[in-house]
Amino acid sequence: MPEYAWPPAAERRLLGKRIARLDGPGKVTGTVKYTYDLQPEGMLHGRILHCPHAHARVRRLDVSRAEGMAGVRALRVIHPEGSEIRWAMDEVLYLAADSEQIAADALAAVVVEYEVLPHFVDAEDRDGAPETRDDEEEVVGDPAAALAGAAHRHVGEYGLPTVAHNCLEAHGQVCSWEGDELTAWCSTQAVSALPAQFAERLGVPAANVRVRTEVLGGGFGSKFSVDRWGIECAELARAAGRPVKLMLEREPELTIAGDRPSAYARVELAADAEGRLVGWSSESWGSGGLAGSGSPPLPYVFAVPDRRHRHVSVPTHVAGSRAWRAPNHPQACFITLAALEDLAAAAGLDPLELVRRNLHLTGRLERIYRDELEIADRLMGWSRRWRPRPARREVGRWADGPRRRGLGLSVHTWGGRGHRSNCALTLHPDGGVDVRIATQDLGTGTRTAVAIVAAETLGLPLAAVRVHLGDSRFPASGASGGSTTIGGVASSTRRAAQNLLEDLFRRVAPQLEAGADELEARDGRVGVAGDPDRSMPWKRAAALAGPSPLVATGANPGPGELTESGVGGVQMAEVTVDTETGVVRVEKMVAVQDCGLIVDLETAESQVYGGLIMGISTALAEEKVIDPVTGRMLNVDFESYKLAGIADVGELVVHMMTGPGYDDRGAIGLGEPPVISPGAAISNAVANALGVRVPYLPLTPDRVLAALEDAVRAPATAGGSGGSA
């Protein structure tokens, strides 16, 4: 058995280098086909009738006119007369028709009447909720005593609303049957997991279901499930005997297909005279719809010695939440790092200094954070440029004009160990190499990373390796969630390629008059290590291996340490706030990020840029506005559900950690970590600029102005701290 390991840094030809993504040319030319682009012969168009009410009973449903329309081929009722609907935009029925126009006409011909029932949608108002679910309180030590006796103490309330995933390619699929075999092209993050989900609900063997996803237009955690629309699309196709495409429209995409839970928290924390955290107490609540919400891991990153946390989940009449990049971490990070910054202000400390004095509470990430803080400090010029908050009495009486500038920082962590993954390598007698793996490339660079690992291991140029993914008939690989993909596919591919070499070396060793364990593959040749005269071209070695292809497989987990868990990241934000208009502008953000072994520097950096930008967008603008009166989401389009545009994101500086202690830890995922900190860093920068905390995200002008007004009206509290809840 080979010794499974990553090559030492000096020997890496491709790993960690800046390599352009392989999926780039197909994307920039518009030639690659997404699920939304497919149009198999005879395809019908599926559409959904959604319920406009948050809570209702279907009083009357008459589909006879719709069903009788020319061109309507199948119709399936989800909510018959008498059934209860528990969130707005839930599906009443599905239909398939020859064209989208006919489908739209048919939906308009459905007669449906509702009995509207009482609803509850405002999770922030937990006292008004018909039902809450209390998690068990977590207590370490004696937080009450620690808080009571501390030198510096801060109490604050903070909150973040629900936000939408807003994938640009809506959720959906194209389903096509041949007999009792289903092929489903799905916009999914879970190619290997979907066949069983389809099969169970369609009553066919899982082996009869093939799921394909060549590319997908965004997932961000919202596309793990087959969803009801997947099953119903397959059922419509089965009923009509023709392929059906069904993609969500934008309103349901925003309303029911993406939701990051809200989180609100009351926090009390304290530090000793030297600024070392000694006590923490928090109570959080929030909702991600009917299922309620998960508990944010509070306190975040810092294991305060004496601490308590309790979470109350508030179910609402809103479609269920979905995993949104780094579930529960952006919430926990904002709540914790905002409270920490407020405490620093109360204690008269630079928050960078406060964080440094508490790194002993971050366990094995201590060294990583220390390194990263130093780099971030330099890239932002923090030590040179940071100034204390203006005093509370100065708020609104700016001597130097209405535009205020501030700096803020945050730290974050994530696991990211590689998931279960299988990979198969085929070496053809002509030397060609195919890699097959039933993973999916969300645009994160998975395809490119797999090619890099295979080519690096086999000593071949990148172009000599063809990667096939996105087909459930390939060896199974985990869903792409929780930053587990890169560690999983890199490890399984590395092991498969090392296994392939072992087999190949055994076959060609006699020709080279050497032992198999003396051979190596590099620069397109197979030969005795350190003896260039005893080598042969890769093609010749492949031909010698026999008339039929060699196949090798590799799995994760497996022998050897190729992936690990636990990364650290530091971010700093510089903002300007116009105190007359309340507009916050991110001038610059610095992200210093660790992810273990970097496979492709180019796409790794892109993940961090992407996380920063999505984080800026959620910090400044994003919020699902749900109307308490009607129970409906109001901002169901891009005019009113605001996203950051290219001019909104300021200067972005990304630094990836490499070298000893970093890239010798194996490949660790990167999709989640960089999106965690922006909310905290930006909010802290705004607090630093204004001298007052805007306690809720997003930092919209109305919230900024309200916080300023509160500060001007309310008598100053000691040291400018105290959340204005």
Binding site: G30, R250, I613, D637, G645
Partner: protein, 225 residues
């Protein structure tokens, strides 16, 4: 987020407005969706469509009347004139994607806000979801497919790849076409000009850093570090 950048709704933020004015008092969207079917309830549509099928384009009171059934539409796309039969309510975007197989332009918001469907009309960027196919008759349409192929990329597309200006890629063809309209006018744009020209397009993965480098550096070719 920046209201100033997208205030013209159906037009393209930062770039030129929509291709032709829409009657006052009608929103672009209601115009698009309702014009050809005004006054007809859904069940009557199919019958009307059938009745009109024999004479889909006619003149009434000196005005050209189309539909409501499918009508022949000749589109000048990427240098070729191609004929499709679509109902007058079908958008240019859907005609391109569903009838001509040109799926580079994407349908995302379908209401003139996200830019994923950007194509060039007479060299100017427009949202293909906010034009009816019949409005584009006789006008020069360029889609992303008119540029390079994966094997032979247009220099602008090569700059996108070299600067990793795409992740999931769903918004990318729209950005390519918006950028094409810019660099055709301004071969070596400043970052501010790039921001203005691309403000009518959204990316959810967060590729703006790569986009800035790709388009602001397009004049130099290759990666702009």
């Amino acid at each position: 987020m920046d209201e100033g950048k997208r205030k013209d709704g159906g037009g393209r933020g930062g770039g030129p407005a929509g291709p032709e004015p829409v009657s006052p008092g009608l929103s672009r969207r209601s115009f698009l969706r309702g014009a050809a079917v005004a006054g007809l309830a859904a069940p009557e549509l199919a019958r009307a469509a059938e009745a009109a099928a024999g004479d889909p384009v006619r003149r009434e009171h000196g005005v050209e009347v189309l539909g409501p059934g499918p009508v022949p539409v000749r589109l000048d796309v990427n240098g070729r004139v191609r004929e499709v039969r679509v109902e007058p309510r079908v958008t240019l975007l859907d005609a391109l994607r569903d009838r001509l197989g040109l799926t580079g332009a994407k349908r995302v918001c379908d209401r003139g806000t996200c830019g994923a469907c950007t194509v060039l009309l007479e060299g100017r960027p427009v949202y293909a979801c906010s034009l009816l196919a019949v409005q584009a008759r006789g006008r020069r349409i360029e889609t992303v497919e008119s540029l390079g192929t994966p094997e032979r990329l247009h220099p602008l597309q090569a700059a996108f790849v070299a600067n990793d200006a795409q992740q999931c890629g769903f918004c990318t063809p729209g950005f390519v076409m918006a950028a094409k309209a810019l660099v055709d006018r301004v071969p070596d744009p400043s970052v501010e000009q790039v921001h203005e020209a691309l403000s009518g397009n959204f990316c959810r993965c967060g590729t703006y850093a790569g986009l800035r480098r790709a388009v602001a550096g397009a004049g130099q070719g290759g990666r702009d570090a």
